[in-house]
Symmetry: C2
Subunit: 321 residues, 2 copies
Amino acid sequence: MSSIESLQISFESYFNHRHFPLVPETLYNPLEDFLSNSGKRIRPVLCLLGNELFDEIHSDAYHLAAAVELFHNFTLVHDDIMDKAPLRRGKPTVHQIHGESTALLGGDVMMVVAYDYLNKIESPHLKKVIHLFNKTAKEVCQGQQLDMDFEKMDAVGLDEYIHMIQLKTSVLLAASLQLGSIIGGASEYNQGHLYEFGRNLGIAFQIQDDYLDAFGDPSKFGKQVGGDVQSNKKTFLLIHALETAKGDDLDELHRLLKLQSTDKVEKVLDIYRRCSIDEWANTLKESYLKKAYHHLDEIAVSSNRKHTLRALAEYLIKRDK
Amino acid sequence: MSSIESLQISFESYFNHRHFPLVPETLYNPLEDFLSNSGKRIRPVLCLLGNELFDEIHSDAYHLAAAVELFHNFTLVHDDIMDKAPLRRGKPTVHQIHGESTALLGGDVMMVVAYDYLNKIESPHLKKVIHLFNKTAKEVCQGQQLDMDFEKMDAVGLDEYIHMIQLKTSVLLAASLQLGSIIGGASEYNQGHLYEFGRNLGIAFQIQDDYLDAFGDPSKFGKQVGGDVQSNKKTFLLIHALETAKGDDLDELHRLLKLQSTDKVEKVLDIYRRCSIDEWANTLKESYLKKAYHHLDEIAVSSNRKHTLRALAEYLIKRDK
């Protein structure tokens, strides 16, 4: 089995070329620039891993991985417009540099080119691949819409939040694995467990992301610690705090949500600690991780083939913060 | 051969159902509303005609027609955001009613659902269909980008304008016909001529549209006559006028382009008439129409099968304004 690193490298060598026509430059060059500022290529690696769990990696898996990566980048470009985000991966966003219209249109073209890559797949299972790809694409859009709807709501339940996060983040990780496994000839049974592994891992990852935003080590966490708290973002932590804090803590929390004071983050985190939100978040994360590993165990291939998937789960989820 | 009207009716009965999931309503209901405010369904009819020119209409042609219609509507929703258009088909645009983010995301989902319809096609030529569909989708995006680029330029050449208009409008009409003909089992030779028929017809149609905006009968033309002139839109007429007007006329034209006076339209049209721009536009339109008919003649099927395509061309291009 390949290591994560070797899969990243081999995907990069497949993917590192021009994806779009040369003209009009005003449309296509911003997209080439954006794609070359790469990120970790987690989803393409998941595609390759999903294939390799069942069979040698087929060239189809690379086309698939490219399609998934383009789809993911398309969602980033469009989400950044909707969120009015100035930065992405430490650089100005596409709409920030080139204007919203070009970012909008560029995202559209990226999506079309994703389907160009899918159309290169020779597998007899192409229709199944496109079906799952489309189902997932719709779910990701639904997740983004729910996220925007939630911003306007006073209270969001934990179940609603988990549902949204699943759509916005987990289903694409899960589908990347399953899509790869379709290329690898996996049975429906194995495909199902692999998907569930990815889905639960994705939720655990998001809980960790919310946790690190509040309690992470600023020197290790890529983003500004406390950013979610400062902007009242509905996270696992805030939603649970609003559901469990009582008396003075709850009053204080509501008061702080209306403020933009310098000590807001510190005071909210004090409440989180008093209500044991940090421990609760870790326990919740572990429970999703346990579910994920259960589904990985259920997959009917020899356990040494699962080694890299376990390594990936450990790479994504740091258990010893 | 079916009439245009009967094809419109049979497409409508296939297409007139819910296309999107029920939730989240905030994302999907605006799209259902937009699609039901139908327009003339020209492109789906072209898909069916392209099929019927060579063989009985196959159920695949309906899936294809739905995909093309969804793609077209997706471009309208996104173009309206970019153009900040308040109205479409006489009603407020999606972004005007539901906000830009939902319109953006809704357009994205419409595109995904277009590929759902393509994925229903059982034809062994599915890969060719997706290839042409994607090529066309990219070209339409390129056309929109060029259109936006042109808005910022002082001078645009006639050839550049025709290239842009071809991408923005004609290629989708041409591809609708060719895609249908692939389902109908047409040879490459016949496909090529059918595409060229559609492409040239599309250019003739756009010349007519520009002409009618300036010289049309206000009681028959759907839009405000003179709107393009008032807003200095680069049209066939303005581009040619700037290339051919001389002396006082040219000076006056440049002066009028900087004004927003009440008699601007009238004065610009006077210059157009003095420079015979109206006759030139008619001659140009006729030349593209002639090319279109030439390609239609070249298609190797019995001429009675071409009857409805001729009727469609006549429906789109009124020769006796």
